[in-house]
Amino acid sequence: MVKFLPLSEAVAGNLNDGDTVAFEGFTHLIPTAAAHEAIRQGFGELTLIRMTPDLVYDQMIGMGMARKIVFSYLGNPGVGLLRRARDAIENGFPRPIEVEEHSHAGMANAYEAGAAGLPCAMFRGYRGAGLAAVNPNIKTVSCPFTGEVLAAVPAIRPDVTFIHAQKADRKGNVLVEGIIGIQKEAVLAAKRAVVTVEEVVDSFDELHPNLTVLPSWTISAISVVPGGSHPSYTHGYYIRDNAAYLEWDEISADREKFQAWMQANVIEKTAADFAARVEHLRTAA
């Protein structure tokens, strides 16, 4: 059953060296606080899975924690490239990193198959695309009725998935709303799931019945971390810190500047520091 834990305990109890892990969020609700906690605890040899790796994976890769990355868009959203990831791929710094690259459709279908307990996903994809030639995890199946050849990719089944969400109720059910992305599938596909939330409310009784609610028994641990998705945003709580994304482009361009920033803003900080970072971004709700 789900446990409400401090983030440090939730991360320590659910992530291990060598794990295949997904910190998911599609521009919205990126679990930055959880990722920073994982960085502080210094895990290594991780296989990082995410459709849009974003700043937190740039940081983990820059810190040398990843042996492999599985992704479909390796960018700083709205800004450009991810410079630490580039340095690892182009120069093997701080260590070489294995790359498994898909399209968004490929990753979305692979997560869906993971949530659905299937060994693989089937879809109409990768036709004429170069990825099919360089990624051995892109194969084909034939429709037994029409003969049409469709793409197949293995299901994604992370050891553990981390997401950030708006709120939990006291029983440990979790609400995700707004741009819901791939989070539900990433949680249901994983062996274990850790959720950071903005707040805990008494009950979800008044919620509309068709919202995206993850029942408590699908989650391993919940940690309350207000501001935990900064510099991404949490719909209904605070807006995106666009300036921080622009700033990251500069910080990540330089190896030393990166290390200094990580030391000051991640290593020497805690999850409790996130609340202050979003104070000026809170919306009039």
Binding site: F26, S72, A108, G125, R127, G128, A129, G181, H280
Partner: protein
């Protein structure tokens, strides 16, 4: 004739020419790097009911300011509905509901094949670019593809380094030979010209030069030998309304995003 504005930039011309190509009935998938400015100018001028879909799951959005990312809250706030990412790619894109997929490009060849993955060799790249995101399937599941990019010899090349998304391949009926039933790239709009594929060869051919642009300028900023149609036209300059709409949109965008500020030092 509509009223003309004397001063406009090539980029403004590009965005406005692209916006004109969109129809009120279009269902437009605005992919990574694509000019959502063009889509929103269309929506704010001649195509008020155009359906704009961003791959983050927002369907029928009408943002007041341009999103900085494909997952901005503004897109969700103004959408008819917001669905999950698997549903977006399965029901809406693969389901064949998109009339226009709008793509940008880091590298483009004359057959509309696009590279946004790597410069150099895939396994040992000179520059690792962000990759395709939704583009590989946008390129094959949308009924038509519009491409927009500023011209440069580095961007418009004879041979791209990687087929992130498939256009007309080697030209001719290459799409059909791969079992792809959609039309692929039917329009390329740059900062200098409007291009359409030749009916047979599928090679992009200039059909209209933007005001004041010469054939030589188009060739000088393109890495392949450019073909021009016999009936070459001049793109009508932006109208005052088009320019005002675009500039107001960009001003609103700048004001809104400036408001977020950066994290205060601890």
């Amino acid at each position: 004739m509509s009223e003309r504005e004397p001063g406009f930039t090539p980029n403004e011309m590009m965005t406005i020419a692209a916006s004109r190509a969109l129809k009120n009935e279009d269902v437009c998938f605005v992919g990574i790097g694509a000019p959502s400015a063009a889509c929103n100018v269309a929506r704010l001028t001649h195509a008020p009911d155009i359906t704009l879909i961003y791959e983050s799951g927002t369907i029928g959005t009408a943002p007041q300011v341009l999103p900085l990312s494909i997952g901005d809250g503004e897109l969700c706030d103004t959408a008819v509905t917001t669905v999950s990412v698997p549903e977006m790619f399965r029901y809406w894109l693969q389901g064949g509901r998109i009339s226009i997929g709008f793509l940008g490009a880091a590298q483009l060849d004359k057959f509309g094949n696009i590279n946004t993955t790597v410069i150099g060799d895939y396994l040992h790249p000179k520059t690792r670019l962000p990759g395709g995101g939704g583009a590989p399937e946008i390129a094959t599941s949308s009924k038509e593809i519009y491409i927009t990019m500023a011209q440069s010899k580095r961007g418009m090349v004879e041979t791209i380094d990687f087929y992130t998304s498939f256009g007309h391949g080697e030209g001719g009926d290459h799409r059909k030979r791969l079992g792809i039933e959609t039309s692929g790239p039917t329009l390329l709009i740059t900062d200098l010209a409007i291009w359409k594929p030749d009916l047979d060869t599928k090679e992009f051919t200039v059909v209209s030069l933007h005001p004041g642009v010469s054939r030589a300028e188009v060739q000088a900023t393109c890495g392949w030998t450019v073909k021009f149609t016999d009936a070459l036209e001049e793109t009508p300059a932006p109208t005052a309304l088009e320019l005002k709409t675009l500039r107001d949109l960009q001003a609103r965008t700048k004001a809104a995003h400036a408001g977020t500020g950066k994290e205060k030092a601890a």
